[in-house]
Protein backbone atom coordinates (compact mmCIF):
# COMPACT_ATOMS: atom_id res chain seq x y z
CA UNK A 1 0.00 0.00 0.00
CA UNK A 2 1.13 3.53 -0.73
CA UNK A 3 1.01 5.58 2.46
CA UNK A 4 1.20 9.27 3.30
CA UNK A 5 1.91 10.39 6.84
CA UNK A 6 0.98 13.73 8.38
CA UNK A 7 2.51 14.79 11.70
CA UNK A 8 0.82 17.69 13.47
CA UNK A 9 2.62 17.96 16.79
CA UNK A 10 6.13 18.86 17.90
CA UNK A 11 8.60 16.39 19.42
CA UNK A 12 8.64 15.31 23.09
CA UNK A 13 5.63 17.40 24.18
CA UNK A 14 3.44 15.01 22.20
CA UNK A 15 3.84 11.37 21.27
CA UNK A 16 2.56 11.88 17.73
CA UNK A 17 5.99 12.05 16.09
CA UNK A 18 7.14 8.96 18.01
CA UNK A 19 4.00 7.07 17.00
CA UNK A 20 4.38 8.16 13.38
CA UNK A 21 8.01 7.00 13.42
CA UNK A 22 7.08 3.59 14.83
CA UNK A 23 4.25 3.33 12.31
CA UNK A 24 6.53 4.27 9.41
CA UNK A 25 9.16 1.72 10.46
CA UNK A 26 6.56 -1.03 10.83
CA UNK A 27 4.92 -0.17 7.51
CA UNK A 28 8.25 -0.23 5.67
CA UNK A 29 9.15 -3.54 7.32
CA UNK A 30 5.90 -4.98 5.97
CA UNK A 31 6.83 -3.85 2.47
CA UNK A 32 4.55 -0.82 2.21
CA UNK A 33 5.65 2.30 0.39
CA UNK A 34 5.81 5.65 2.16
CA UNK A 35 5.14 8.33 -0.42
CA UNK A 36 5.80 11.25 1.90
CA UNK A 37 5.92 12.36 5.52
CA UNK A 38 4.47 15.85 5.90
CA UNK A 39 5.15 17.94 9.01
CA UNK A 40 2.50 20.55 9.81
CA UNK A 41 1.52 22.84 12.74
CA UNK A 42 4.09 22.39 15.54
CA UNK A 43 5.11 19.21 13.75
CA UNK A 44 7.62 21.32 11.82
CA UNK A 45 9.70 21.44 15.01
CA UNK A 46 10.58 17.79 14.45
CA UNK A 47 12.89 19.06 11.72
CA UNK A 48 15.31 21.20 13.75
CA UNK A 49 18.88 19.96 14.04
CA UNK A 50 19.56 22.20 17.04
CA UNK A 51 17.60 20.19 19.60
CA UNK A 52 19.80 18.42 22.15
CA UNK A 53 17.71 15.88 24.07
CA UNK A 54 19.32 14.07 27.05
CA UNK A 55 21.76 11.29 26.05
CA UNK A 56 19.67 8.56 27.66
CA UNK A 57 16.55 9.51 25.67
CA UNK A 58 15.67 9.04 22.02
CA UNK A 59 16.64 11.77 19.56
CA UNK A 60 13.46 12.11 17.51
CA UNK A 61 14.91 14.27 14.73
CA UNK A 62 17.93 12.00 14.37
CA UNK A 63 15.65 8.96 14.17
CA UNK A 64 13.82 10.55 11.24
CA UNK A 65 17.09 11.51 9.56
CA UNK A 66 18.36 7.92 9.83
CA UNK A 67 15.10 6.44 8.57
CA UNK A 68 15.17 8.92 5.69
CA UNK A 69 18.68 7.80 4.72
CA UNK A 70 17.85 4.14 4.95
CA UNK A 71 14.66 4.31 2.87
CA UNK A 72 15.13 7.53 0.91
CA UNK A 73 12.00 8.98 2.58
CA UNK A 74 10.54 12.31 1.49
CA UNK A 75 10.39 14.33 4.72
CA UNK A 76 8.60 17.60 3.98
CA UNK A 77 8.24 20.50 6.39
CA UNK A 78 5.43 22.95 5.63
CA UNK A 79 6.88 26.32 4.71
CA UNK A 80 4.00 28.43 6.04
CA UNK A 81 4.05 26.66 9.41
CA UNK A 82 7.87 26.70 9.46
CA UNK A 83 8.12 30.44 8.81
CA UNK A 84 5.89 31.15 11.81
CA UNK A 85 7.95 28.95 14.07
CA UNK A 86 11.48 29.85 13.01
CA UNK A 87 12.46 26.69 11.18
CA UNK A 88 14.43 27.37 8.01
CA UNK A 89 16.91 26.04 5.51
CA UNK A 90 19.76 27.97 3.95
CA UNK A 91 17.77 29.39 1.05
CA UNK A 92 14.91 30.51 3.25
CA UNK A 93 17.29 32.10 5.77
CA UNK A 94 18.89 34.06 2.95
CA UNK A 95 15.51 35.10 1.57
CA UNK A 96 14.29 36.29 4.96
CA UNK A 97 17.57 37.97 5.90
CA UNK A 98 18.21 35.66 8.86
CA UNK A 99 21.69 34.88 10.15
CA UNK A 100 21.25 31.13 10.57
CA UNK A 101 19.34 28.08 9.48
CA UNK A 102 18.37 25.05 11.53
CA UNK A 103 16.85 22.36 9.34
CA UNK A 104 18.10 18.85 9.96
CA UNK A 105 19.65 16.56 7.37
CA UNK A 106 17.10 14.63 5.33
CA UNK A 107 14.29 17.17 5.71
CA UNK A 108 13.19 19.63 3.05
CA UNK A 109 10.90 22.67 3.19
CA UNK A 110 8.01 22.94 0.75
CA UNK A 111 4.40 24.04 0.41
CA UNK A 112 1.03 22.75 1.58
CA UNK A 113 0.38 21.47 -1.93
CA UNK A 114 2.68 18.59 -1.02
CA UNK A 115 0.18 17.50 1.63
CA UNK A 116 -2.73 17.66 -0.79
CA UNK A 117 -0.69 15.75 -3.35
CA UNK A 118 -0.03 13.05 -0.75
CA UNK A 119 -3.79 12.81 -0.19
CA UNK A 120 -4.37 12.42 -3.91
CA UNK A 121 -1.55 9.98 -4.63
CA UNK A 122 -1.69 7.71 -1.58
CA UNK A 123 -4.01 4.83 -0.80
CA UNK A 124 -4.14 6.13 2.78
CA UNK A 125 -3.17 9.39 4.42
CA UNK A 126 -2.51 8.69 8.09
CA UNK A 127 -2.61 11.62 10.51
CA UNK A 128 -0.75 11.77 13.82
CA UNK A 129 -1.74 14.43 16.33
CA UNK A 130 -4.47 17.12 16.43
Amino acid sequence: MKLGIQINEGPYQHQSSDSAYQFAKAALAKGHEIFRVFFYHDGVNNGTRLAVPPQDDRNITQQWTELQKEHNLDLVVCIAAAQRRGLMDEDEAKRQGKDANNIAEGFRISGLGQLIEAGIECDRLVTFGA
Binding site: Q6, N8, Y40, H41, A80, A81, R84, G111, L112, G113, L115, I116, E117, G119, I120, L125, T127, A130
Partner: protein, 133 residues
Protein backbone atom coordinates in the same frame (compact mmCIF):
# COMPACT_ATOMS: atom_id res chain seq x y z
CA UNK B 1 -10.35 11.26 -10.99
CA UNK B 2 -11.04 13.73 -8.19
CA UNK B 3 -10.96 12.40 -4.67
CA UNK B 4 -13.33 13.39 -1.89
CA UNK B 5 -11.40 15.52 0.60
CA UNK B 6 -12.95 16.46 3.91
CA UNK B 7 -11.42 18.99 6.27
CA UNK B 8 -12.65 18.21 9.76
CA UNK B 9 -12.56 21.19 12.10
CA UNK B 10 -12.85 20.30 15.75
CA UNK B 11 -11.34 23.17 17.70
CA UNK B 12 -12.27 26.73 18.71
CA UNK B 13 -10.91 29.46 16.40
CA UNK B 14 -8.52 30.97 18.93
CA UNK B 15 -6.58 29.43 21.81
CA UNK B 16 -4.72 27.16 19.42
CA UNK B 17 -3.58 27.65 15.84
CA UNK B 18 -5.33 24.59 14.36
CA UNK B 19 -8.31 26.49 12.92
CA UNK B 20 -6.20 29.11 11.16
CA UNK B 21 -3.76 26.58 9.73
CA UNK B 22 -6.66 24.36 8.64
CA UNK B 23 -8.04 27.27 6.65
CA UNK B 24 -4.64 27.72 5.03
CA UNK B 25 -4.67 24.11 3.83
CA UNK B 26 -8.22 24.49 2.51
CA UNK B 27 -7.29 27.56 0.47
CA UNK B 28 -4.17 25.95 -1.01
CA UNK B 29 -5.99 22.66 -1.56
CA UNK B 30 -8.74 24.42 -3.52
CA UNK B 31 -6.30 24.78 -6.42
CA UNK B 32 -6.09 21.00 -6.82
CA UNK B 33 -9.64 20.59 -8.16
CA UNK B 34 -10.69 17.85 -5.80
CA UNK B 35 -14.18 17.30 -4.38
CA UNK B 36 -13.82 19.34 -1.19
CA UNK B 37 -16.04 19.58 1.85
CA UNK B 38 -15.58 21.03 5.31
CA UNK B 39 -17.07 19.76 8.53
CA UNK B 40 -17.39 21.62 11.81
CA UNK B 41 -17.95 19.61 14.94
CA UNK B 42 -17.47 20.15 18.67
CA UNK B 43 -15.88 23.50 19.50
CA UNK B 44 -15.08 23.75 15.78
CA UNK B 45 -18.54 25.26 15.26
CA UNK B 46 -17.30 28.43 16.99
CA UNK B 47 -15.04 29.02 13.98
CA UNK B 48 -18.08 30.01 11.91
CA UNK B 49 -19.77 32.31 14.43
CA UNK B 50 -20.47 35.85 13.31
CA UNK B 51 -19.34 39.02 15.05
CA UNK B 52 -15.96 37.70 16.11
CA UNK B 53 -13.79 40.39 17.69
CA UNK B 54 -10.21 39.54 18.56
CA UNK B 55 -9.10 43.01 19.64
CA UNK B 56 -8.79 42.00 23.27
CA UNK B 57 -6.50 39.05 22.59
CA UNK B 58 -4.21 40.74 20.07
CA UNK B 59 -4.73 38.10 17.40
CA UNK B 60 -5.80 38.42 13.80
CA UNK B 61 -9.52 37.91 13.24
CA UNK B 62 -9.48 35.51 10.32
CA UNK B 63 -13.22 34.74 10.33
CA UNK B 64 -13.97 36.93 7.24
CA UNK B 65 -11.95 34.42 5.21
CA UNK B 66 -14.72 31.82 5.58
CA UNK B 67 -17.02 34.02 3.51
CA UNK B 68 -14.53 33.82 0.62
CA UNK B 69 -14.63 30.00 0.47
CA UNK B 70 -17.48 30.06 -2.05
CA UNK B 71 -15.21 31.87 -4.52
CA UNK B 72 -12.76 28.97 -4.18
CA UNK B 73 -15.47 26.46 -5.11
CA UNK B 74 -15.59 25.27 -1.53
CA UNK B 75 -19.33 25.15 -1.01
CA UNK B 76 -20.11 22.04 0.99
CA UNK B 77 -19.84 23.09 4.59
CA UNK B 78 -21.31 20.62 7.05
CA UNK B 79 -22.16 21.85 10.53
CA UNK B 80 -23.17 19.31 13.12
CA UNK B 81 -26.53 20.18 14.66
CA UNK B 82 -25.85 18.57 18.04
CA UNK B 83 -22.56 20.45 18.41
CA UNK B 84 -24.38 23.75 17.89
CA UNK B 85 -27.15 22.85 20.31
CA UNK B 86 -24.77 21.64 23.00
CA UNK B 87 -23.20 25.10 22.92
CA UNK B 88 -26.47 27.03 22.92
CA UNK B 89 -25.95 28.10 19.32
CA UNK B 90 -28.15 27.98 16.24
CA UNK B 91 -27.68 28.63 12.54
CA UNK B 92 -28.50 32.32 13.17
CA UNK B 93 -25.31 32.67 15.20
CA UNK B 94 -23.17 31.64 12.24
CA UNK B 95 -21.94 33.71 9.31
CA UNK B 96 -24.07 33.46 6.20
CA UNK B 97 -21.84 31.57 3.78
CA UNK B 98 -22.87 31.42 0.14
CA UNK B 99 -21.62 30.39 -3.28
CA UNK B 100 -22.72 31.15 -6.82
CA UNK B 101 -23.89 28.24 -8.95
CA UNK B 102 -22.41 28.55 -12.42
CA UNK B 103 -24.90 25.99 -13.77
CA UNK B 104 -27.92 27.99 -12.63
CA UNK B 105 -27.00 31.44 -13.92
CA UNK B 106 -24.83 32.17 -10.90
CA UNK B 107 -27.70 31.81 -8.46
CA UNK B 108 -26.59 32.46 -4.90
CA UNK B 109 -26.90 29.39 -2.71
CA UNK B 110 -26.22 28.56 0.92
CA UNK B 111 -22.98 26.73 1.60
CA UNK B 112 -23.80 25.57 5.12
CA UNK B 113 -25.56 22.25 5.48
CA UNK B 114 -26.90 21.58 8.95
CA UNK B 115 -26.63 17.84 9.57
CA UNK B 116 -27.25 15.55 12.50
CA UNK B 117 -24.43 13.56 14.06
CA UNK B 118 -25.56 10.36 12.37
CA UNK B 119 -26.01 12.09 8.98
CA UNK B 120 -22.49 13.49 9.27
CA UNK B 121 -21.20 10.00 10.04
CA UNK B 122 -22.55 8.88 6.66
CA UNK B 123 -20.91 11.83 4.90
CA UNK B 124 -17.60 11.02 6.59
CA UNK B 125 -17.96 7.39 5.58
CA UNK B 126 -18.21 8.51 1.95
CA UNK B 127 -14.87 10.42 1.94
CA UNK B 128 -11.54 9.32 0.47
CA UNK B 129 -9.27 11.59 2.49
CA UNK B 130 -9.96 13.22 5.84
CA UNK B 131 -7.74 15.93 7.24
CA UNK B 132 -8.56 16.58 10.86
CA UNK B 133 -7.70 19.79 12.64
Amino acid sequence: MAKKFMYMNTKAPYGTIYALESLEVVLIGAAFEQDVSLAFIGDGVYQLTKGQNTEGIGMKNFSPTYTALGDYDVNKIYVEKESLEERGLSLDDLQHLTWEDEDEDWAEKDSIRLVSRSELADVIDDQDVILSF
